[in-house]
């Protein structure tokens, strides 16, 4: 599958982001393994360090297997001072996982992100690209049960 995507792109460093985006979308669990990093690096003639650097720069890529829903808690200062710590604690208790982990049923992955650009609504988090602001423990509980209910 990766091979087909690679073949569509010129063998040049500039194709890297395009390839990663395209691949992560079609791949289940939306993450990129070590072997795939190597394969992409080889094809483009860049180092694996380079691929890892790009993969890790963009928070929508992951190098770990991920759940169906990706919850990203903002970790930057405005959110921090407005209580993102509590948001995180609530999420960890609700989902019974620590930050960076995925639930056993592979439904949720909990991650940090840097500023979501919603500082005036701090603390903020994002689930699958949708942003939630002005969070408190109760609001978080409501949001999570909604996501649980949807499936």
């Amino acid at each position: 599958m990766l091979e087909d995507i690679l073949k569509k792109h010129p063998q040049h460093e500039d194709s890297l982001i395009e390839i990663l985006l395209e691949y992560q979308n079609v791949k289940t669990k939306r993450y990129i393994t070590d072997e795939e990093v190597e394969q992409i690096a080889k094809y483009l003639g860049v180092t694996e360090s380079k691929v890892c650097s790009v993969v890790s720069f963009y928070t929508f890529f992951s190098t770990e297997p991920r759940g169906k829903h990706i919850i990203q808690v903002c970790k930057d200062v405005p959110c921090y001072v407005n209580g993102s710590g509590n948001v995180l604690k609530t999420l960890e208790q609700l989902l019974n996982i620590r930050i960076g982990e995925t639930t056993k049923d592979e439904k949720f992955t909990l991650e940090y992100t840097s500023c979501l650009g919603n500082c005036d609504g701090a603390p903020a988090m994002r689930i699958d690209g949708k942003t939630f602001t002005n969070l408190n423990p109760n609001k978080v509980k409501a949001i999570i049960s909604e996501y649980r209910g949807v499936n």
């Binding site: 180092t47 360090s49 650097s53 720069f57």
Partner: protein
């Protein structure tokens, strides 16, 4: 020209000059971290912050050009405060255990904290200790000391074209490492050490082998000998507080004697020997239709690059070992026998400008008896400097002592191995005399000297015009290697040195190496050459005698056994 004011003094500088350079010209020091001379301007760290009268925000001196009438304050309270905050933030994420640090008293962060008068940090430490990378024999990486200035990334990517070090993640979670926190040896690191030479702190350093050497020196049963590479005599002075380009050969020998080495020898000797072997190999390849272009093999960083990324051109490499390893092989056989020392009681140390030499000496094929290493320990110029200081030697007061016999008689051709173009020039001095059967009218091959990235020359070998090329820094070497790989290389002979400027700019050389410093070391190198009585390797009488008594002739069976090797595709 534009007129500006720095700290209330009038300064006239050329348009386009950065504030940093304008201040430097007036001897005003503005601290820098992400900026390093000759590298890209990144303006990330903001430590070079200065104030401009009438302007609201502070600006970065490294990246801001002066404008006519600008009034700059490099040391106002506002500026100092900003720098203090930046430094405190860095220290809060730094393993600031200075007394247990290799770079204590020689660290840019420490100096900064010191000059800013930081005695207490307002910020609590957020450091999460990470594992060190000690997985290879050349370079140690300590992520707990990294201040994320990005200099190493720049050197590795843009100067060397390797791109092993990269930034991972972003904002406050950003860190610098190979391949997502893994080891340098998990990637195609050449161990050139250029990253270690620009790192402002002790986050990337050579693997410290000084204890190994102290212990050998302390062991009465061991006969400990040392060889010193050509590039060390023109740089060690800097470690001892002298100015770049100082030639300290005889004091260096005296210092090594004081450290307790039984004999002090010169790698220039085996550089001469390399020329005889490699020169004859070249003549052989040209006349017998062997693989061309032939490419020099004395630089281990370059060998690593070929084995990792250019296995197709391995046969183009000269089969000669490097001078360091020729010395080791001769020491453990010829010398041990002559001096009646059991090879296992002989401990061979080399002082090199180079971190990759540590890797080379540890390669398993670099062993005459197939069991023990030919070169037991490799120290960089910096490590030698450290030992001399540890011993409390007053370097300037040392007497002048010459190298020991027999491996102390050398030629100027061996001496220039330390500079880019030097191996080529040394080889041409010998090869053209052998082939043309008459003395050279002019010894100097100026077209292959200097800091130009790729240099070319055309030489007359027995009526045949032959093109040669010289590259230094791996990004330039890759250009020539690509041609060879594609079969379009117009050259018969290519010299490659991994480090910018050649070994004089090696990854183990004194800190603060810039192009200006490289120029000085190069000038000194050619000075050493022109001061020598002997200028051509084949005229070295001790080399001639070594062939008569032992090796018989260049490329003999014994030469092949001891002085040549094979390379193969691999990951280091």
């Amino acid at each position: 020209m534009v007129n500006i004011k720095i700290n209330n003094t009038n300064v006239t500088v050329e348009e386009g000059t950065t504030i940093l350079d304008a201040a430097k010209a007036k001897n005003i020091k503005i601290p820098t971290l992400c900026y390093y001379p000759d590298l890209d301007i990144k303006s990330d760290c903001r430590i070079c912050t200065v104030e401009i009268t009438g302007q609201k925000g502070l600006v970065t001196a490294c990246s801001t050009p002066v404008r006519d009438g600008m009034e700059i304050k490099t040391n106002s309270p506002r500026v100092l405060n900003a720098r203090k905050t930046i430094t405190e933030l860095m220290l809060a994420n730094h393993d600031a255990n200075c007394t247990a640090c290799e770079k204590n008293m020689n660290c840019e962060l420490q100096t900064l904290a010191n000059t800013l008068g930081i005695d207490e940090n307002r910020f609590e430490s957020v450091l999460e200790m990470q594992e060190l990378d000690t997985a290879n024999t050349s370079i140690t990486r300590n992520p707990n000391r990294c201040i994320k200035c990005g200099r190493c990334v720049d050197v590795c990517k843009n100067v060397q074209g390797i791109n092993v070090l990269e930034s991972m993640n972003r904002s406050h979670e950003m860190f610098i490492s190979p391949k997502y926190g893994r080891y340098l040896s998990d990637e195609d690191c050449t161990f050139c050490g250029q990253c270690s030479s620009v790192c402002p702190v002790a986050s990337i350093t050579e693997k410290d082998d000084t204890d190994l050497v102290w212990n050998a020196l302390d062991d009465d049963k061991k006969h400990v000998i040392v060889q010193v590479a050509p590039a060390v005599r023109v740089s060690l002075g800097e470690e001892m507080g002298q100015k770049p380009g100082s030639i300290v050969t005889t004091k260096m020998v005296a210092a090594l004697k004081q450290l307790g080495f039984d004999r002090v020898f010169d790698t220039d000797f085996t550089a001469d020997l390399t020329i005889l072997e490699e020169g004859n190999e070249l003549i052989h390849r040209i006349t017998e239709g062997g693989k061309l272009p032939m490419i020099t093999s004395c630089c281990p960083g370059w060998i690593n690059l070929v084995e990792q990324q250019y296995p197709e051109i391995i046969d183009n490499l000269s089969s000669c070992k490097s001078p360091q390893q020729m010395f080791g092989a001769l020491a453990k056989t010829y010398y041990a026998k002559k001096e009646n020392i059991k090879p296992e009681d002989l401990f061979v140390v080399s002082i090199m400008p180079c971190t990759a030499k540590k890797y080379e000496a540890a390669r398993e094929e670099m062993s005459a008896d197939g069991k023990n290493r030919d070169v037991d320990a490799v120290l960089t110029t910096r490590e030698l400097g450290k030992m001399v200081r540890q011993m409390g030697i007053n370097f300037d007061q040392l007497e002048e002592i010459e190298f020991d016999d027999p491996f102390g008689i050398t030629s100027g051709a061996g001496a220039i191995f330390g500079a880019t173009g030097g191996v080529m020039e040394a080889a041409l001095r010998t090869v053209s005399e052998v082939v043309n059967e008459k003395p050279l009218e002019k010894l100097e091959f100026e077209s292959v000297r200097g800091l130009e990235g790729i240099k070319e020359a055309e030489v007359d070998l027995g009526g045949q015009k032959v093109k040669v090329a010289v590259a230094h820094s791996l990004s330039k070497a890759k250009q020539l290697a690509d041609q060879v790989k594609a079969g379009t290389s117009p050259y018969a002979f290519i010299e490659v040195m991994t480090c910018p400027g050649g070994c004089i700019g090696g990854g183990g050389q004194p800190y603060n190496t810039t192009n200006a410093v490289r120029e000085e070391r190069i000038r000194a190198t050619y000075q050493v050459d022109s001061d020598m009585k002997l200028r051509k390797s084949h005229e070295n009488p001790v080399i001639q005698k070594l062939y008569e008594d032992y090796l018989t002739k260049p490329l003999s069976d014994l030469s092949h056994d001891l002085l040549h090797t094979h390379y193969h595709k691999r990951r280091t």
